[in-house]
Amino acid sequence: MGDANETAANGTAANPELAEAFADGPAFVPYLAAGDPDYESSLKYVEALERGGADVIELGLPFSEPIAEGPTIQSAVVRALEGGMTPERFFEFVEDLDVDVPLVCMTYYNLIYQFGSEPGPRPFVERAAEVGLSGFVVPDLPAEEADPLREACDEFGLDLVFIVAPTTRGERLERIMSQVSGYVYVQARLGVTGAQDDVSGQTEASLDRLADYDVPKAVGFGIKTGEHAERIVAGGADGIIVGSALVDIVAEGAEAGESADTVASRLESKARELKGGALRGYEQRVPQAERT
């Protein structure tokens, strides 16, 4: 377990797994909602992402009011909830997964706050540590309200990933960067999640603002293709986070009634495309010959 105070001060991971995932080149961080569209298929889908090259996987624990999500992920959340996903079932899901990469739970604060017999985030974090999760992303929990969760994460050695938006500057940026651990989630553009046909120009400015902070920078929101991934990593990102483009594959499979194996294989190949793009971008930025 890492030292809590040191974690907050220097941005390194409380849990070394996450930092290590970014240590050897660009990290590919896919997202799927756990239990979308059903428990068994979803297990196969997450495992397919690892085969496709995932370095960290963000697993969504569905909340009924996902205010930071666009229509694609919102629909995934609805499918997963209708499929019976609950916080406890989510932890069982993590235990049932056969993957070796670190897993980060992405959810909303009310579910974390309500879990267990005492109010507050501690029981949730304790259970997350038990099942082997590495950290959290909580889109509706700004740094100002995060102390109780930060303390619980420090106690159990988990990372707390914060999102930095294109609008985040000055003192707010300092405050967030003093609390973040694992990696920082760089929101590529304003708005909610969703795949885009082009990569936002706001990304570069955001990466520039973060250049002096010694913590891995993973860019998310709108990344859809290997080419997007390549450009973002070439532009300075340490990793890419992709959700909606993968959730779209799950949704199409569910709608067409395809077998879980067919959908899993499509996810694996999409993952490979995205990871490949990230590696090409890295090669442009840091050619093999210059690596130490």
Binding site: A68, T86, Y108, Q114, P142, E145
Partner: protein, 432 residues
Amino acid sequence: MTQTYADGKFGEYGGQYVPEALMPAIEELTDAYERYVLENEDGFMDDFRARLRDFGGRPTPTQYAERLSDRYGTDVYLKREDLVHGGAHKLNNALGQVLLAKYMGKERIVAETGAGQHGTATAMAAAHLDMPCEIYMGETDINRQRPNVFRMRLNGSEVNPVTTGRGTLKEAISETMRDWATNVEDTHYVIGSVVGPHPFPAMVRDFQAVISEEAREQLREKTGGLPDSVLACAGGGSNTMGAFAHFVDDAEPRSADGSSGGEPRDDAGVDLYAVEAGGSSLSVDEEAGVAPNSASLSTGGEGVLHGARTKILQDADGQIMESHSVSAGLDYAGVGPELAQLVDDGRVNAVNVDDDGALEAFHRLSQLEGIIPALESAHAFGYLENNYEDLGDVVLVNVSGRGDKDLETVIEETEKRDIEAAPSLSEFSGGF
């Protein structure tokens, strides 16, 4: 008047639980609230009050309700927010926020609406102040509040249907937050009640506090004192906090028998009653994730919804429940954080009236006083009907809005029930 709560917290409630992209906008809004609203920078509050008077039609009267007073043997006064321009208290807040957005240099307004009253008020304020405006409204609510949808469009606003979930206010708020997160740099979100992240709960209360500021003065003129009780319906709680704000400090308890103990009313306390929608039942269907009521103060638990920690209707896991009320304006799974704190403190009594009681009261007030109340307000009159003996000698009821918007619902729902005071409405069914 209640405190400013500069840190945005009401005890454990309140706060700012929103996506990071919105935080700079919320900081900017907090700064604007403190400067323009609290400190009257650039004469903002003078401008606001002048517009409330000339555009909004304020002050509204506090009327003595003769026949209700005869019926209950107690003096009943009505704060007539149904007479504000647009037909509801909602204009007080909408005008304040759209004007504030103008002072802040914003170029676009978004808002959500449940019953359509807030959307209508925002559309009117936006037209009055020449601001482009888009309004999100659940599809279910669009179907049961068509006249208000038409009014919003007449005033030049876009109405965007929200089809997620059950298509009511909860979903409309989530959708408006998404629009705001996308367009935050030039857009202001006019939240319709004392809910959401700080500074909205305090700011909306301040814009609505004109209700109790006027009522307090008007009652003093008419009776020489304060009311024994103030009743207001509570969904999100904006008319409630507006009606309570200037009475919250009058907390000296009355004697147990409900009288003012022989003392002048000025020295006695004012009891505050937030009347929630009991819907069809106060019980909860955990399996279906449905609460057949909207009584989050009476039956909800502490949690985080739409930017604030407050009392919410949720299941054991923390998933937000679908709420229900015959009144679209009360149909919300949360409530303002300040109201939650005032209830915890024992300063406000959280009570509720079910759909049947509200409909009966709707017909009763229409026939006895010639006032067709909003179905929201009818909940407060339903409580008065069954509890007048406990409310003291002078009761103030806030008529939060007028009921024209609810006529289709009333026709449909009245036909399902045996309501003594109701006229036959069968000739109107199937379309109004």
